[in-house]
Amino acid sequence: MMLEQKVKITSHQKIAPQVFLMAYASPQMAAQARPGQFVHLKPSGPGPLLLRRPFSINRVKGSNLFIMYRVVGRGTSLISSLPKGTEMDVLGPLGKGFEISRKYSEHVILAGGMGLAPMQFLADRLKAMKLESRIFYGCAGKKEMLPCPAPGKIIATDDGSCGYKGFVTDAFLTCIDKFKKPVVYACGPWPMLKRTAMICRQHNIDCQVSLEAFMACGVGACQGCVVKGVKEYVTVCRQGPVFDSREIDWEQEFGL
């Protein structure tokens, strides 16, 4: 059940170049949120921003929801300047999250860059359910690396400054045969997701991807946030943001 609420920022800090971690309190949203879902938010009151901005729920702790985001434009740069205590308008939790099933013996998370954002919550949930999970996290280099407190994680960097040198998908590929009956959850830039989907198809592995799109309503009313599915356009906000990778037409020209 989605809610529209005014909430207060309870903590806000810079955690890497251009990347911030924000928390706000909402017991109701915290109780309902599922990994992979997102919130649609903007600062309260009139201001330079018109539309809300979508962000994955990074983590839930008690009644706090965490958002981890990168400053890329007007909205995120404004949001990054909001001090603790500022009121925001939040719609959430929105969308379909990851589907977690006990039929898999291993739960493999692939995160590229900011794609790490929804994965902490997923890893927390898998752990709480006592399911075997493993994170592969890829980023440009050591300097861009985001904090990812998961034991046994495998790191890949494009420049080789830390961990495996190369793409996170390649790091995964090197040990793909070690997994018995895995499921893959992926979030990151389109080319990474596409590569992940191809690898999983070749190896007959179920794969769930979390997609992004520009949004207006966030609830499925405007048809603004679509991507091409194999049959028809699908709304990222309502039918997603998490999709079975087989439902998506990976050949479409896409990229925000």
Binding site: L50, C217, A221, G224, C225, V226, K228
Partner: protein, 311 residues
């Protein structure tokens, strides 16, 4: 004893083209989906009427993404009338829509005049549908849409045909992308429109300077939101002075003050679109604010605001 007016005694109801509505705030086409998407957030019955997403004869996939983008004070969209098509709409969407919203107006568009006529015919005899809004003003489709809305002769011809085919009040939705809005308004009035609504979105575009490409997949789109309000207000002012039928105003209405401006300029009712994206319960604030305004000005009915502009 002095008759003391209270907020509760203000009559917000309006009647437009014979359609009775409990308040003059309507959900604009394309921004409220099929009327169910916002249900968890917006209790049904808050809007005077809900206008559906444009329905076309055959299903439409819509335009290539990205389809929406924010610009200063506004938003661009190039949805392209994505919808399930008339048959599926009537079978699957309409019954649910009607079960939640008492007053439903169906917005329609076609590629050709014949398609508009066929659609109006399909809605004939359908109980529950209170009216039809003819979309001759969508900037995001190649055929039909704004092509019919920018020429008074074509607009009139289409209105005449649709009026003949329909058994419901006909609202014609006009485009601001025209040289003389009064001429179009008069033409559709003479052709039998029971009311007119305006504005649809303005042509617009945005460019990604890194990629040196248009942001929208469709290259151009339609601009809505606060940025278009002065243009919309001007069009409502002009059009409402040119016709006798009621005018429904929209374009950038975000607050009750905005709604009052449109009514002062001549609108009998207003629609809100982009405002619902920003704040799904905007309708609540706007109807509440209209009551406050009436109270302050000593009006007992909201309809008393219409056309009160002193010029």
């Amino acid at each position: 004893m002095k008759n003391i007016r209270t907020k509760n005694s203000i009559d917000l109801s309006v009647e437009i083209a014979g359609i009775k509505m409990k308040n003059p705030v309507l959900a604009a086409s394309g921004t409220f989906g099929y009327g169910t998407e916002y249900l968890p957030l917006v209790p049904p019955g808050l809007f005077g009427a809900v206008i559906t997403k444009t329905i076309t004869l055959l299903p439409r996939a819509g335009n290539k993404p990205p389809r929406v983008y924010e610009t200063p004070g506004g938003m661009l969209n190039s949805i392209g009338l994505a919808n399930v098509g008339a048959e599926k709409f009537l079978k699957e969407k309409l019954p649910e829509l009607l079960s939640h919203h008492p007053v439903v107006i169906v917005n329609i568009a076609g590629n050709t005049m014949e398609e508009y006529v066929e659609l109006a015919g399909m809605l004939k005899g359908r109980p529950g549908i209170s009216g039809i809004e003819l979309n001759i003003s969508c900037p995001n489709v190649k055929q039909g849409g704004v092509a019919f809305g920018s020429d008074p002769i074509q607009a009139a011809k289409l209105t005449t045909l649709a009026k003949k085919a329909a058994d419901k009040p006909l609202i014609v939705k006009l485009s601001p992308n025209v040289a003389d809005i009064a001429a179009i308004a008069r033409a559709v009035e003479q052709a039998g429109a029971d009311a007119i609504s305006l504005i649809n979105t303005l042509y617009g575009m945005a460019i990604d300077i890194d990629k040196q490409r248009p942001v929208l997949g469709n290259i151009t789109g339609g601009l809505s939101g606060p940025a278009v309000k002065p243009v919309a207000l001007y069009n409502v002012f002009k059009a409402s002075r040119a016709v006798k039928v009621p005018v429904i105003g929209l374009g950038g209405i975000m607050s009750s003050d905005d709604a009052v401006e449109f009514m002062l300029a001549g609108a009998s009712a207003v629609q809100i679109g982009t405002a619902s994206f920003v704040d799904p319960s905007a309708v609540k604030e706007i109807t509440g604010g209209l009551k406050d305004y009436c109270l302050k000005k000593g009006y007992s009915k909201v309809s008393q605001i219409t056309g009160k502009l002193a010029v």
